[in-house]
Symmetry: C2
Amino acid sequence: MAHEIEQKALARYLESHTLKQTKQREVILEAFLEAGGHLTGEDLYQLIREQYPRIGYTTVYRSLKLFVEAGLAEERRFDDGVARYEIEHKHHDHLVCTACGKIFEFESAVIEQAQKEVADEIGFTILRHRHELYGHCANCRVN
Amino acid sequence: MAHEIEQKALARYLESHTLKQTKQREVILEAFLEAGGHLTGEDLYQLIREQYPRIGYTTVYRSLKLFVEAGLAEERRFDDGVARYEIEHKHHDHLVCTACGKIFEFESAVIEQAQKEVADEIGFTILRHRHELYGHCANCRVN
DNA sequence: TTCGGTGCAAAAGATTTGCATATGT
DNA sequence: ACATATGCAAATCTTTTGCACCGAA
């Protein structure tokens, strides 16, 4: 099995929280990491279903929430209102192509700084943020 | 009745689209404008219910979508995934206080510019965006 | 008189929960 | 043994739709 590091991180989390290590959790985490993120619960359920038809979607949804708790995944919600999960990694924001659905990531120190200034002005403390640009990617744009 | 300008804008839209002017639409628009925006369909339905218990929530939801079509309102979705509607006005983004739920607006030319640069780099055309800062407002922050 | 509108109830889609059963620890 | 996890079905929650009836044009 690949992704030993993440599997071990999950194992550690489970152990330290008196939760149980199960085949399902291992399989679901594996499939999630393999797919590379930005998946809905349904997406992941369908993927897993092919190989493990006996795993219920309830378990997939519950596992995804567990991964978030464990710091392995992050929950996002783009404009369609459906929850998507991605692999937790360095902070970044998204560009979403509304034509093909592809999702790109970006980060900008200038923007982060400007945000802070906007917030400071009204005495607001930023805990997290969300920044999404919707439009057409290079492939889909009309030239 | 207040908000004559918006009521007239709606009337114009209805007329030009062969749609009908109804008491419900007038009442719902009035309540929406009066409340000042950032409301969910349910919020608005509850507000209207007090005075007009015979207006169904279906009509409220349908009217809100109509207002968006007519350019009078905008649909937003914050982190809870529920659709909220606000009065359409100059472009801006939001600061959302996760303690008291209050919503503030901001705009930043620096950020808009930086967005454009990020998009240009990968040949992406931005059609719209969404930028939300979550945290604690001046009243709720722990000093 | 003719369409579009309304309101109810029912459907739908995504996610959560209750519960009996199964399974790590 | 005991407590948590699973999987099914049923419940939720928000939003949409079907349909008979109503009302604006």
